[in-house]
Symmetry: C2
Subunit: 200 residues, 2 copies
C-alpha cells in the first residue's frame, strides 16, 4: 500500500492552484497517493473575523501575493492569468467536487476548475461555466449538478469543512498526514517526504 497524503484545497485559493498543477507529477514520482479534499475557506476565515480573503483585507500582503504567484507560475512553468475577480465564490463548484470525490473523478474535475479560474479568468461560481467543465470531461452536467444541489451533498461539504477546522486547518492548500499539517504550496515537498518516511 502506498503512503497517503490528504490534499486540502479551496477553489478560490491562488496558492492551491500552484499545488494543484504540481502535485500529480511529484506524487507519482515519489509513489505517494493523494486524497483530494476540497473544502471552504469562507467559514474558517469568518471564524477568524475576516469577511473576505486576508489578501483583500491586508493591502501589502495582497500586493505581495499577486507578484509572488506570478513568479511561482514562472518558476514552475504553470499557465497564469490574474483573475479579474478575487476571491471567486467556490461554494457551488465545491459541492460538485464533493460529488466527484464520491464518484472518483475529483482530481480531474478540480484541476480543470482551477485552470478555468487562474489560467482562463472564467467565473467558476457560474453554473454554466461549471456545466461546460463537466461536459468537457464527459460527465452529464445536468445530472451531476442536480446531485450537487442535494441536501446530502450540502451536508457532506459542510462536514468536510468542519473536519478541516477540527484538524486545525486555517488556510489552503494544506497537506495532512495523521495529526501532522503542512500549510502552503511551499510545504508540498516536505509533506511528501514526511509520509514516505513515516512508513519506513
Amino acid at each position: 500500500m502506498k503512503p497517503e497524503l490528504e490534499f486540502w484545497y479551496e477553489f478560490a485559493s491562488t496558492y492551491s492552484y500552484i499545488s494543484v498543477m504540481r502535485i500529480d507529477e511529484l506524487a507519482k514520482r515519489e509513489g505517494v497517493l493523494i486524497k483530494w479534499r476540497p473544502f471552504l475557506l469562507g467559514p474558517i476565515f469568518k471564524s477568524q473575523g475576516w469577511a473576505t480573503s486576508p489578501f483583500n483585507i491586508y493591502e501589502s500582503k495582497g500586493r505581495y501575493m499577486w507578484r509572488d504567484i506570478e513568479r511561482l507560475a514562472d518558476k514552475y512553468g504553470i499557465p497564469w492569468e490574474k483573475p479579474s475577480e478575487f476571491p471567486r465564490n467556490g461554494l457551488r463548484v465545491s459541492r460538485v467536487a464533493l460529488v466527484a470525490e464520491q464518484e472518483g473523478w475529483c482530481e480531474e474535475f478540480s484541476r480543470k476548475v482551477f485552470q478555468a479560474n487562474f489560467a482562463q479568468d472564467k467565473d467558476i461560481s457560474d453554473e454554466a461555466v461549471i456545466a461546460s467543465i463537466l461536459d468537457s470531461i464527459g460527465k452529464s452536467s445536468a445530472q451531476v449538478i442536480e446531485r450537487a444541489k442535494s441536501d446530502e451533498t450540502k451536508l457532506k461539504l459542510r462536514a468536510q469543512t468542519e473536519q478541516a477546522m477540527e484538524k486545525g486547518i486555517f488556510g489552503a492548500p494544506t497537506f495532512s498526514a495523521g495529526d501532522e499539517l503542512f500549510w502552503g504550496n511551499d510545504r508540498l515537498e516536505d509533506a511528501i517526504i514526511w509520509v514516505k518516511s513515516e512508513r519506513i
Copy 2:
C-alpha cells in the same frame, strides 16, 4: 561587485531565526552579499489592527507555527528551544543592532541575539542579557548601550521600520532586491537566485 540582497528581520520572529541560521552559508556559497536590516514588526502589525503577533491572535495558525518551526529546525539541523515568552519585545535590542549596523558588526550580534531567544530561552528584552551578548563578542556594552539610547539611534530605527513599510514589507523575514520582495524563510533560495540572475 557582488550581487546584494537586503535581509529584513525582526528579533522576535521565529521564521527570521531560521533564516538567520541559514543565510550566511548560502550567501557565501552563492557569492551574494547580504545587507542585514533589523526592523520592528510591532508598528506594522499595529497598522494592520493587530496588538500582538498574528500567531497569538489566530490560535490554529499559532499552534501550527510552533510545530512547523520545530520541524524546520530539525530539517536544517538548527538548535531550537521554544521561548517561554512570545513575542519578546525587540525594541531595545533592535536599537543596539542599529548601532551595530553602523559599526559593521550587526550580523555577528544579531545571530547571538537570535540564538539567545530561540535556542537558550533568554529574555532578549532585558538589558543585562543584551550587555552579556555584547561582552561575549568583545564590545564595550556600557558604551554601546548608551549609544543605542541616543535620539539619533531611536530615529534611525524608526526610519528603518518606516522604510520597510514603504517597501511594502508586512512580515519577517523579508528579502528585498530593488522593488522585488521575497517574504518568508521559504523564499530565501529564490531571493538569492533572483539577485544573481538580475546581474547577469
